[in-house]
Symmetry: C2
Subunit: 218 residues, 2 copies
DNA sequence: CTATCTTTTGAGAGTTACTCTCATTTGAGA
DNA sequence: TCTCAAATGAGAGTAACTCTCAAAAGATAG
């Protein structure tokens, strides 16, 4: 087990991974790991807001969370992962695959995004905002947002490919995934840049309207 | 003068910066700088292809180019910049601004891209291919491609804003720039992933057709 | 050609994110 | 309680940068 994420599916995983996480009878070990992970992240966010991302060292974060730097890197592969990694991918994939397969993909995405964001705003609004604000403000994070693996683009592409029932994505699927990912990232960043005041559902709608219109008005 | 790029405009700069660079009577100093820059880049590309990007250190590159590591960082802010920085931005901006202002922006981009790529293929095909191949293969480069400043997205956004004759870009402009930048990057990456065999003009056309169609078929 | 001024360079020390290895601790299960 | 596997910490190492300062080299005026 490499980065020992508590997300790792147990051998008898039910069909829905999100549900699995919720109902899993966590062992002491797993509870401790989850707690450590949360502590590290919480302390990190606290220090980031207090003294900035760049001038907070991993060593300081580890000290604040009362773990060794070694342990820090066992929980988060990079410092950027503290901000960029999330646990919403399975939910997003499930939401996307739940839409009718003959629906235009753009519409599926709009609906899934709207759902997911709605949930996030209710439960983790504060954290979501902190994360998005950091991403808008720290160039290193903005860049890392587009790393190949586990990026939104990969997520969209995976779903597109599976929906089409083929092995390898076509070029058109790639472009579609890239464009949608970039556009939706823009929506979240705009929301954060605005201080979280703007109506994010409205932003998402405008984004997908633009994509669907073929940028006719621009 | 911070990174001492030989691109720095002389006090009596003509209107067209590209032209300026070509006709400028380079002083000895400037000629040496240009040569150093080229040598560093050439040696770097050679070593990257021989032994890979990650296992080539800046120290090795500097040694091969017969400069000190200090000097390396005076010419390229980061190792990634060796691959990512280019000198085509002014040409692209000029090409975009040369299109009729009432033309749909998507069409302006398609035409400008086609032009620029055509020129690049004639003059620097080998280098362009090496760069794109590196970007497809090295995750760190792929990530850095989306850094806020000097990214294609910023370029498109700048032009869009100026064309509209406003100070601040609207949200719709942001999304448009993001989507077009992501999609065109995909075209170049696909071309490189294919070994440069595929017809890149065709790829660009397919990309913009998709963007213009509102992803109707997907 | 020389003296002066400015730009460019190299040397070296320091920081920090990460990697690897190995011994120790701690929870799980019999 | 004993044994095994997983988790942790300590420590050494690497490499990409950053900063400072003195030396070298091109530009310029006399």
């Amino acid at each position: 087990m490499t980065p020992q994420q508590p997300t790792a599916a147990p051998p008898d995983a039910p069909t829905n991974p999100v549900q699995a996480m919720l109902e899993a009878p966590l062992s002491l070990r797993e509870r401790k790991k989850l707690k450590t992970r949360q502590t590290i992240r919480r302390e990190a966010y606290r220090m980031f807001t207090e003294q900035g991302y760049d001038s907070t060292t991993v060593e300081q974060i580890a000290a604040a969370a009362e773990v060794s730097p070694s342990t820090f890197f066992r929980y988060f592969a990079t410092k950027e992962d503290l901000v960029l990694s999330d646990e919403y991918d399975p939910a997003m994939i499930a939401a996307l695959l739940a839409r009718p397969a003959d629906e235009p993909f753009l519409e599926s995405c709009r609906a899934a995004m709207a759902d997911l964001i709605h949930q996030l705003l209710r439960h983790d609004r504060e954290e979501l905002f902190t994360r998005m604000r950091l991403i808008t403000e720290v160039p290193a994070l903005r860049a890392a947002l587009y790393r190949s693996s586990s990026s939104p683009q990969e997520l969209f592409l995976t779903v597109l490919t599976r929906r089409a029932g083929v092995e390898e994505p076509t070029y058109e699927m790639r472009v579609t995934a890239a464009a949608i990912a970039a556009a939706t990232a823009e929506a979240l960043l705009q929301w954060a840049a605005d201080g979280g005041r703007e109506d994010i559902a409205g932003l998402v709608d405008r984004t997908f309207a633009l994509l669907g219109s073929g940028f006719a008005g621009v």
